[in-house]
Symmetry: none
Subunit: 186 residues, 4 copies
Amino acid sequence: MNKPIQARTLKTRAKLIDAAKAVVATSGYEGLRVDEVVQRAGVAKGTFFAHFRDKDALMDQLLGAEMDSIFDALDAEPVPDSPEAMADALGPLIAFMTSERYVFDVILRYSGAAGVTEIGPIARTFERQFRLFARWTAQRDDLPPELLAEGIQAFLIQAMSLQFCALHASSQAQDRLVTYLRAWLR
Amino acid sequence: MNKPIQARTLKTRAKLIDAAKAVVATSGYEGLRVDEVVQRAGVAKGTFFAHFRDKDALMDQLLGAEMDSIFDALDAEPVPDSPEAMADALGPLIAFMTSERYVFDVILRYSGAAGVTEIGPIARTFERQFRLFARWTAQRDDLPPELLAEGIQAFLIQAMSLQFCALHASSQAQDRLVTYLRAWLR
Amino acid sequence: MNKPIQARTLKTRAKLIDAAKAVVATSGYEGLRVDEVVQRAGVAKGTFFAHFRDKDALMDQLLGAEMDSIFDALDAEPVPDSPEAMADALGPLIAFMTSERYVFDVILRYSGAAGVTEIGPIARTFERQFRLFARWTAQRDDLPPELLAEGIQAFLIQAMSLQFCALHASSQAQDRLVTYLRAWLR
Amino acid sequence: MNKPIQARTLKTRAKLIDAAKAVVATSGYEGLRVDEVVQRAGVAKGTFFAHFRDKDALMDQLLGAEMDSIFDALDAEPVPDSPEAMADALGPLIAFMTSERYVFDVILRYSGAAGVTEIGPIARTFERQFRLFARWTAQRDDLPPELLAEGIQAFLIQAMSLQFCALHASSQAQDRLVTYLRAWLR
DNA sequence: TATGAATGAGCGTTCATTCAT
DNA sequence: TATGAATGAACGCTCATTCAT
């Protein structure tokens, strides 16, 4: 029963992913329509659902891949030695997650693997994030790194949330994050 | 140009709100259907849209009102003197916001007044929350109450978010919140 | 029971008519909305329906008045002595009736006083038209002027109808009318 | 790029048309409701709009088909040799077009392919009508058959229009048509 | 007369998802 | 695997007309 993945399968999947990326480039993540993706990929609609459980699964893939590449870069960097350096390092992540309200919402929703069934790409990036933050705080002896990491996650979300808020639109997420981290890691 | 709001208008609005609450009681917030609300209220569909821009506007009203009554109770209570007492006091808020994934999502999305145009009922409750937390931390002299308040907000969201997460489903939001607050208000 | 028409009544009516004309000038007859008319007139919606049985009654008034002024001019002119002169004289009428497809349709529908109840302004203009055409053909002795008049009416409608037709958009209604009249009055 | 129309598509389309005809048989053309058609056809509403741009497009199909079958019969008959015979032959057409004011209005509006973009079924029947009348008058040498045909069209519309007119309700369209044709084809 | 909130039937639309071929 | 027609449950909206005050 072990099915060797056929070349055609991979090719179709790649066509769909590429088409999806092209659509996102034009219409944004929120504006992505399955219809447009399959049309661009030159396949039938049913084919899409043979490759992805649902539209959200594609979204999970796309967003997860994007996040992963951001974390790849972060992992390669040295541990930041100050709140300012941390917020600075998180710049690309913040930029991506706040690029669209829709992106922020989907990532948040899938960060905890909405359903209980399986951990998807986005949820996995949150584990990476957690491990990264734990590594950043490993040297501290006031609080356990795990707790500190969760705190950083919380403040990161908070800082980005306020970005979308009409009342706080003036200040930037990164600046807010610095303030939070200074207090949290004091 | 100033049109005095007629009694009939208020009555109809109340009928719609009451009907909506009844529907929510039966089917939950996610299960609310405009058609059912309208039918229960004994009102024409056009009337609904004369009172609420769209279904989301009604949701904003309903959830905002519910949150407000929770904050009314919180405002009446004395300032909690420990992280445990705080988490305890926030029990009803946590219970409500995590009662449905849909509720949590809508509240979060509208907490920042999704659009920049106008601040709705839900967004206003987040201001109340902020002022409440600032009051709770007013006596402290290590950090400004405003910053401490934002931190509590961040940890509250974090604690509730993890409630929906497959990886952390075992522990309760309230317990997690205590841990966070102990560290934050140490 | 004889009600003297109050000055206020006439004033309100005039305000409505004026507002309607202004709306037509902006949005055309088809684009006229009762809401916009009453808003411009500065009266309530109910007031509109106290003055006009329905929106069509207003339309009947507006279009009838316009047609009447056209026929006033036609009545003042001498009897045209050729098909060319006839078609020429009818230029303004054709221009008005073909200015909007909607105008043509409404006039046609009301030309025969759609309902049986009462003859409205538009229907009256068709009687004027009929009498005019009968006068134009009174000197002929081949066919009764009434029949000739009805024929002219028929060809006038036909010529204008084809104006809206994709297949005949090239030639003008007036030119077609000349052809028809030459044959009919040969 | 050339998609062969699937049998299923044709079947669904037929189901919709049949259902629509059944509804018309019960409620008349004006009484046709999309929801009822869809329900009778046992088809989803979305499917309806996948087959017809809007309700009017269905109407165009239905009325065009009906007209076509009338013209099929007319084409099979010999050329009528008198105004009386012509009016007689046109009996079914007149009966159908004056069966409902709504039918007459829709046919007239679509006779010229309301928009300039595409010629629909009804518009096509007017071309048939024109060719038919030209054939009926082909033997005459006083005026070109095309002109005579357009005249017959004009008088036919005129005769039917007056049917709906309160002022001429007494006499029948067919009788009026005879009078007109006698004069036109004298 | 004047007011303006309420009516209400129905159309059009959306678009992810399914399923028979 | 691939196909693409069909699904279907809401939502949003229109806008002339009515009616209680």
